[in-house]
């Protein structure tokens, strides 16, 4: 299953690759990384219908996670992409907006990887 992680922090890549090293090794999950909303959109456009899950930070300079979310929901309606939003500010306002835009889930930083793994397992099943 292809997962695209979008975050402006570069070290997120190393973190995810280590946290999910067993899943990656076993070929269960495959990760791609984008460091801005714009980069994520470009990636999606270049490889349509490959990515099933997008994990995106909300607070990024330039195109925010919410902007990305609305673009994705408009451009990539089929196949349905699962969007999980992550934010450092666990405020209700962002949550409401994300849900209104069609996000499938909402996580707060620091990300609990055990919970994230569960959610991903659930999606896989």
């Amino acid at each position: 299953m292809q997962i695209l992680v979008v975050d402006d922090e570069v070290d997120v890549r190393d973190l995810f690759q280590q946290r999910f090293r067993r899943e990656i090794r076993s070929g269960e999950l495959s990760f791609n990384f984008a460091f801005s909303g714009e980069e994520a959109l470009a990636f999606l456009r270049s490889r349509p219908s490959e990515v099933l899950i997008i994990l995106s930070d909300i607070n990024m300079p330039g195109m925010s996670g919410l902007d990305l979310l609305s673009h994705v929901k408009k451009e990539f309606a089929m196949p349905p992409t699962t969007m999980m939003m992550i934010t450092a500010y666990g405020d209700n306002d962002s949550y409401q907006k994300a849900m209104a835009l069609g996000a499938n889930d909402f996580l707060t930083k620091p990300v609990d990887f055990a919970v994230l793994k569960d959610k991903l397992q659930h999606l896989l099943a």
Binding site: D14, L15, P61, S64, D67, A88, F113
Partner: protein, 459 residues
Amino acid sequence: MAHSASYGDLFYLAPMAYGIGRGLSKFLELPKRLPRAHQLLNYVWVPAVPMVLIAGALGLKGDKLGDYYWVFVWLAIIATLAAVRDYRPARTLLLAVIPSALYKLLEVVQSASGLLMGRFDIAKDVSVSFVGIWLITFLFIARSQKKQLEKEQLLREEEARAKRAIEAQNAELERLVSERTVALTNQAEELRTALNELKTTQAQLIQSEKMASLGELTAGIAHEIQNPLNFVNNFADVSAELVTELEEEREKPARDVELEADLLADLKQNLLKISQHGGRAASIVRGMLEHSRTSTGERQPTDLNALADEYLRLAYHGLRAKDKSFNATLLPDFDPALPPVAVIGQDLGRVLLNLLTNAFYAVRQRQLRNEPGYAPTVSISTRKLGDEAELRVKDNGTGIPESAKAKIFQPFFTTKPTGEGTGLGLSLSYDIITQGHGGTLVVESEEGQGTEFIIRLPV
């Protein structure tokens, strides 16, 4: 009076002499000028008494007694006038009476010696008129001199009075001046106290402005610290997992050496990342502490690119924390050739924070107008420009109206709603750049298009 026939003349000559004496005494103001002469003149009649008594007793039938007495009176008058000759009317009177006295004397001497000449009689008539006219003329002159003197005296008294009045006024003025001086001294003291209080207040205001901007920063700082802390925690956790996995691998009979090497490499890399992110958090805390501290005023060679980057993030996340829906494109453009510049880091940081906060505020305001296609953008750039370092903070926000441009660097000028801005930010920034660093801070702005602040610092 000249033709006294017997001593009977003395009965009217003596009172007359007394009268003349009193008149003279009064005219010459003898009681105050020469009291002794005044007393003597009062007794001018006295010699007439023994003369009458002796003449009466001896039965003298002489017609000379009156003449002799009269000569005595003349002499007494002349003596008196001579005694007060310092007084000008007295001298004039002396001049007036001398011919009359001389004439009388001559007459007495002549009648005593018994000389009688017809010619002399004619001369005598002429002389009498002449002496009389002379006497009267000089009497008038003396009188007018006296009046003149009295007038002068009055004038002098007037002047003296005026002088006294002026002196009194001077004394009053002196008193007023000293009073006023005391009042002014007190006032100066009060002003000095007030000035000191103002200076204290100013220092407090500057400090509270810093604290206000620190308040704006708090959320940004929290976010900025939270991120590296999350990484530290995550990498520490995942490293513990890696170590567990490594241990498990070593227990296996068939060890995967390649996997072990990978795990070790990851571990090493993670430790490096933990250290990096820990350092990042520490530097943010350090920056925050520096920002809140009172300026030490010491210039240190500083990497302006790093400073600008740090404050760009702090300002952005500070605003983000307050206004979750806000988003802007940040365009940092740092000149890697920029050498370290000697600046007071926390002061310059405050300037950048202030300019950036304003920039974000401006783009936010414009964003709220819902112009189609508007992308809020804030850029910060550094550049080496000859022997100057240039920092530019640019936004495409609401811009500054012409009417406000001249005032933006004035203390307490703010366009923000009450309670949102202290109005000190730009004024303090201006002072920090121009006075604190010998640089320049200028603004270029077009209303509705954006604003650019340009800082130039000597390298």
